[in-house]
Symmetry: C2
Subunit: 336 residues, 2 copies
DNA sequence: CTGTTAGCGCTTTCAA
DNA sequence: TTGAAAGCGCTAACAG
């Protein structure tokens, strides 16, 4: 089947291509007669405007790129939904890119998106290399970065105060009367979860409590990592009545191990996480956690992008610290 | 900053734009000297090829569209991941579209994708209207439809045998000795989940067991719907020892309610779902369920699309019935 | 209110 | 081995 273009419509309606363009985009008044003829021709021929041609001409693609480590992870899925929804509202389509947390793939996608001339990029980075986004920023494509501290570059960032999240969660445990509070750490302290551990330590110190490395096992940010960390804790033989887990996923994994070991939550051990992933509310018992906004962060990131795209924001980088919130569910109780 | 084009590169390297194009795409041998000069100029000027222009010229966008009801739903998220991965492998980007199960939004996206000249569309439809995809198919964009029976149109489809899934799951419960088996239904019987209920009924009848509407509450396919359905069940006062839930999501919601009511799973109540979403393996207890492939379905759908895009498949519609598999975990036990 | 036309950045045929 | 040039489908001056 031959491709129908604006030219075909023009011929069929016996007008110029310009006029067709004007009625399609409603960008100049056109007489009712011509409008009717054109609309009729469009209908008849089943014409679909070629957005590619239009993009080339206008230098606007009405597309944004979203790079996430894994769109299957409920945490990122929520953000992605926020992005898509806000994009839809504003007339932007989103290209979904999973980096699988691989540097290589992040780079490939970054270049691809630039090539495709998306008008903005939302990047949930795992590799902290500033260099890679530098050329993109230079190319004047607005970028929003999540959860990384990118200094000295004109990109907006969204982060949570991880230190405070850790601090606040730990304080809550302390207020419940706990003194021997273990901590499940991520593998590397140089991650968002790592900063939470510092908050944990500060809260402990401020209350005159001591933390010790033996009660701070590490896990790989997955359920299995949490299970293993809990095993380490049990094996250490040291007493503890509560656990601060640097994220929900590991907290849930740890709960499993604890229960398998015959411990009751929260009667024997209180446990608290950070993130508020969907699993947290459906775990048993439901996990008390320090929540951070996800969907809303996605929508606002798009708004930031569009501000810059449409030229409504010209100033320097905006660094948003998202508010955390303590969600009290059933996994923590007063020390008896 | 001025936009760098192939022309700038040509000038800087003192060659023709054609030659630049040839080295970029490696589509014609070019002498080492010129190649070096061109590469150097590209590097120096930070040139990024304009994929939009190329698409216009080649009439190929290397993009596919994915329409899902809700990318946040783990079930669709898995499919989406499969699509994205397979797309990445094959050099296709994917535009993510959430329809929110709204007819209007499906339609908008369908037209948008056509306008953007994606080369294929994977459509997880919620509204069964054949008419809406008809113009797309006519426009020769390959389409794959999930979970709907679209007859008389040249589109490939992927489905599972929902009846069999329901039948098989229920049979398993019966084999465990259960006789009073409740069923959590979707709101509408005209959905994939609805067909599963028919399988449930058949299995019951074949074993001489009776099903009754009062033990078949409906839910809205979400966790909260499952909770509510379980409440209905409890309120009915009727005895039951097992529940067949037409999908995992509602099963998990129901488990929650059941436990809050002091019932143990599986000791007091066995429960079985369909789908095998990620939450099913992380729920407590892990949910026994009839699984269907999701990620693999996503990757294969892309392969089907690409077959047609590249002209490797010219025949009529392919209708794939995906295999289901009973995954035995911990939520069902023998009736004592 | 309408039409003519240049040109967006690229690929690719044709010619050298 | 290289270059000139047409043209993909559209928008938006500019001219009438």
């Amino acid at each position: 089947m031959p491709i129908i273009t604006i030219k075909d419509i023009a011929k069929k309606a016996d007008v110029s291509v310009a006029t067709v363009s004007y009625v399609i985009n409603n960008t100049r008044p056109v007489s009712p007669e011509l409008t009717a003829r054109i609309l009729h021709a469009i209908e008849e021929l089943g014409y679909s405007p070629n957005a590619v041609a239009r993009s080339l001409r206008q230098k606007r693609t009405k597309m944004i790129g979203l790079i996430v480590p894994d769109s299957t992870n409920p945490f990122f899925a929520e953000i992605a939904k926020g992005v898509e929804d806000a994009g839809y509202e504003a007339g932007y389509s989103v290209i979904l890119c999973n980096s699988n947390a691989e540097f290589e793939r992040e780079l490939v996608y970054l270049n691809l998106l630039q090539s495709k001339r998306v008008e903005g990029i939302i990047f949930i980075a795992t590799t902290t290399h500033v260099e890679q986004i530098c050329p993109i920023v230079k190319s004047s494509i607005p970028v929003v970065i999540f959860y990384r501290d990118i200094r000295g570059l004109d990109v907006d960032t969204f982060r949570i105060n991880n230190f405070e999240a850790g601090y606040r969660g730990t304080r809550y445990l302390i207020e419940l009367g706990h003194q021997e509070i273990a901590c499940i750490q991520p593998l590397s302290p140089e991650t968002p979860s790592g900063e939470r551990v510092a908050g944990y330590q500060r809260a402990m110190e401020e209350s005159g409590l001591t933390w010790r490395e033996t009660l701070m096992p590490r896990g790989d940010n997955r359920l299995s990592g949490g299970k293993r960390a809990a095993e380490d804790l049990l094996r250490s033989g040291l007493p503890f009545t509560a656990i601060f887990s640097s994220n929900d996923t590991m907290a849930i994994g740890a709960m499993r191990t604890l229960r398998e070991a015959g411990l009751r939550i929260p009667e024997d051990i209180s446990i608290l996480g950070v993130d508020d992933i969907i699993l947290a509310s459906y775990s048993d018992p439901p996990l008390t956690t320090v929540a951070q906004p996800k969907y809303e962060a996605g929508t606002q990131a798009v708004r930031f992008l569009i501000d810059r795209i449409e030229g409504n924001y010209q100033q320097g980088p905006r660094n948003v610290i998202l508010n955390t919130e303590l969600i009290i569910r059933k996994s923590c109780s007063h020390l008896k």
